[in-house]
């Protein structure tokens, strides 16, 4: 048969059928799980685990001295053994002696020893390496460059016993020891400045319950079970594919199609359809992320001119900020946009921390009359009856800057603009690209902005609320309060857990009263996964946390 115009469609169909006929699915593997991730990792070296995806994958590839689990009932963390089988603090908690396992090997067969542990502390704190933990080894003996001084810190008691000493008066905890240990025999050969770019950072030698199999750049990261690991259990998940799918709709489609077994950060509007299907379990990870509306507490013009810190003419007063918090109809966002996958926030401490959260603080309710009265008390009145409040000849006008790629914040900004207008306040909404928003917040050149924080576990408030703006660059609203500083300092001293919780509650009360930002709502991370995966525990520590226990 010759190729003629008439039979071209036939040839086309034949070609398509050849393609489709040649289609061969990956081998059906019940012990294989495909997890959708929105972007590729930058590397597979735990020293540089800056993103959540990298931290999640590296946690499966590398062991830490201890591991942490979430106790749902107590609303707190539990420390469990990992590389360290036992540990013992001395009387004044100025040192700890760890008893390490002697049955752990790196994936290249070399045993993991105390030397790897000491090396890890050294390399993580080395300024030349620029690891993600650089500058955070506060209770350790360090030099002026924050590099741990090994001679003062470590003492090899035996082949498996290691004593770690801390600066006297500091308050070390097991959290200071919870980071992935890296192989000395691999990284010791590489100049410290070149570790980040070395090929070993992309083809790792590992020690965890999974070993690295393959990294198909911008497509997938594949890891498989490590039968030599003491965490390995026959019958559990044998292979995990982290599939890179940047587009949200493509992630959702592949989840529904069965090409992906687990996807996170699903939009609440898609949940109902997923719930209707028998194939999925929909769960939500609560209390890790909150949206806030930040008020620039300082005068941005004066700060730009000579770095002087003077109260902002609009937002410098706590009463004004309280009034603005009362004028935002946050409930509407929780019910209409989040569809119940979120709850109102009253402070930066999440309700998941059952012992630390101050439950007596009720989120500010939407009350325009009360808000007007508060503004009037502060001298903001509409004297010229143009619908906008004035004080000392200045009208209450400002710009709210938000990221242009966040539909939730675009929705909330439109809503808040309307409600706040009823108060006599004119708010313009400016949408910018995320990098530009971060720049504006960081240089303190925004009037007000909407953003979110993913809260650290264990709790840490000092990084964003301490008054010293030079040492606390993430105090974006530039809120300064000596009383709060004293409480934050006390948290770093040796005190009991109960005393700490009391301090947290006091801190919350101050932040609630002063409203340096308006704490808007806690946002659930909606997760859906295929029912074929068993024993998944969605906790505040993450979805894939401890996933070697899945089967």
């Amino acid at each position: 048969m010759s190729i003629t115009r008439k039979n071209i469609p036939l040839y086309f169909l034949l070609l398509v059928s050849i393609f489709v006929g040649c289609k061969k699915d990956s081998p059906p593997n019940s012990s294989q799980v495909v997890i959708a991730i929105p972007s590729d990792v930058e590397g597979l070296n735990p020293l540089f685990s800056f993103s959540i995806n990298e931290a999640n994958i590296n946690e499966l590839l590398f062991l830490s001295l201890v591991k942490h689990s979430w106790d749902e009932k107590a609303g707190d963390l539990i420390t469990e053994p990992m590389l360290a089988k036992f540990w013992e603090w001395n009387n004044d908690s100025s040192s700890i002696t760890l008893d390490l396992r002697n049955d752990v090997q790196w994936s290249d067969g070399v045993p993991l020893t105390i030397d790897d542990v000491i090396f890890s502390f050294d390399v993580y704190s080395d300024p030349a390496v620029e690891s993600y933990l650089y500058g955070s080894f506060i209770p350790f003996y360090t030099d002026k460059d924050n590099h741990i001084i090994a001679e003062k810190t470590f003492e090899k008691v035996s082949d498996t016993k290691l004593k770690i000493s801390f600066v006297s008066g500091s308050s070390p905890s097991l959290f200071n020891l919870d980071f992935p240990i890296v192989p000395k025999h691999i990284f010791d050969k590489i100049p410290r400045k070149e570790i980040a770019t070395s090929k070993e950072s992309f083809n790792p030698v590992t020690s965890g319950p999974f070993v690295f199999e393959k990294w198909e750049k911008n497509q997938a990261i594949i890891i498989k079970e490590n039968p030599k690991s003491f965490l390995h259990k026959d019958g559990n998940i044998g292979r995990i594919i982290f599939k890179v799918i940047p587009d949200y709709n493509a992630r959702l489609t592949q989840l529904k199609n069965g090409e992906v077994d687990l996807a996170e950060y699903l939009k609440p509007e898609d949940v109902d359809e997923l719930k209707k299907s028998d194939a999925f379990i929909v769960s939500s990870l609560k209390g890790r992320e909150y949206d806030y509306l930040g008020w620039n507490n300082l005068d941005k013009e004066k700060f730009k001119k000579n770095k002087s810190i003077t109260p902002n003419k609009l937002f410098g007063s706590a009463k004004v900020r309280q009034a603005l918090s009362m004028a935002l109809n946050r409930n509407e966002v929780v019910s209409s946009y989040l569809r119940g996958y979120g709850e109102l926030a009253s402070s930066p401490i999440s309700p998941i921390f059952k012992n630390s959260v101050n439950e007596s603080l009720i989120p500010y309710t939407f009350d325009l009359e009360k808000a007007k009265a508060l503004l009037a008390e502060e001298g903001w009145k509409d004297k010229d009856r143009n619908g906008i409040l004035e004080k000392n000849g200045e009208e209450f006008k400002f710009t709210l800057t938000i990221s242009s790629n966040n539909p939730r914040r675009i929705f909330a900004a439109a809503l808040f603009k309307n409600t706040i207008k009823q108060l006599g306040v004119e708010m313009n909404v400016e949408q910018v690209e995320l990098g530009m928003l971060i720049d504006k917040i960081n240089t303190k050149s925004a009037d007000a902005w909407m953003a979110s924080w993913i809260i650290p576990i264990p709790l840490d408030l000092k990084f964003s609320w301490y008054s010293n703006l030079a040492t606390t660059p993430m105090n974006f609203p530039s809120y300064q309060n000596k009383e709060l500083d004293a409480l934050l300092d006390q948290l770093e001293t040796k005190i009991s857990k109960q005393q700490k919780n009391e301090l947290y509650k006091k801190i919350e009360t101050i932040l609630y009263r002063d409203q340096p930002v308006t704490f808007l709502y806690w946002i659930d991370n909606v997760v859906a996964y295929n029912k074929k995966i068993k024993n998944v525990k969605v906790t505040p520590l993450g979805t894939v946390h401890h996933c070697w226990l899945w089967w």
């Binding site: 933990l133 911008n218 940047p246 971060i438 993913i454 809260i455 660059p473 993430m474």
Partner: protein, 329 residues
Amino acid sequence: MKRSVLLLSFIKRAATSVLILFLTVSFLFVLVRIAPGDPSLKYLSPNLSPQLIEKVKSSFQLDKPISKQYFSFLENAFTGDFGISYKYHRPVSEVIYEVLPFTIFFSLLAFTLQFICGLLLAFWAFHHHKKLLDKFLSSGSIFLYAVPSFVSGVFLIYLFSVQLKLFPSSGVKTVGSLEANFFFLAFDYLYHLFLPVVVLALTGLPVYFKYFRESFEENQQKLYTVYLRANGVSEKRIYLRHIIPNSLNSIIAYAGVDLGILFSGALITEVVFSLPGMGRLAVNAIFERDYPLIVGCTLTAGLLVILTNLFADLIRMKIDKRLVKGLLN
């Protein structure tokens, strides 16, 4: 034309291209640095210590004046070193080299499809000049041109992946497949690329269709066609030997630019189908303020546009010798 004159003209054109590239890269180098944004803040999180922010700024040389950064960049660029990507911690050339083969292959497939289909459909429509089919194809091409690729992409995914389950919805190969057979891998690759290539080709196809269709009409009315017909030359020969070659000239000039742009990345198609191409790489570099990678991607894209244009001009010169002097100068 003498060979020496030709060579001189060629050198002149190459020098102009290098100058354009140099100016583009220099302009961009300064522009991205004065634009708002700070690469050291991309890892913004409670764990990020102020000390680390300062260290990162220093190692990215962001604490130095832009002029110093620029001269240091030029010094290294002359040795072929375009710096280390802030995001990937690897040389920029290595990161680009990883996505370039895919981008070129993918673009060439789409380009070939749109060029050939455009030509065939135009020929078919012209054959049914002013009849229903011609009108249908002309209107259809306008419709296709108006449909953005994210719409056609999502529609084709819905139809062929979700409903008919004929083609995969993303990626360039079956992720995690243990198959190592070359033929399987080749088929797997083409099977995954089928929908994305169609989507990308659909955006350019109407343009080629219109170009060809109008060129055919224009040449059909020219005196040489009338003369050939009057001399009894067959219609087939008139089309194949005269009308099509004469129509190709202006289309190839457009195709040169078009192919260069395709090589620079097809962002929307790459995002919708999760493909590892230049478009995604460049846009992510911009969002993440990965300055060395932004400059590297621009340089590569610029170079490809210049090369494809040059290639297109060489083809045009081959077709029509009269163009040699004008095109090289």
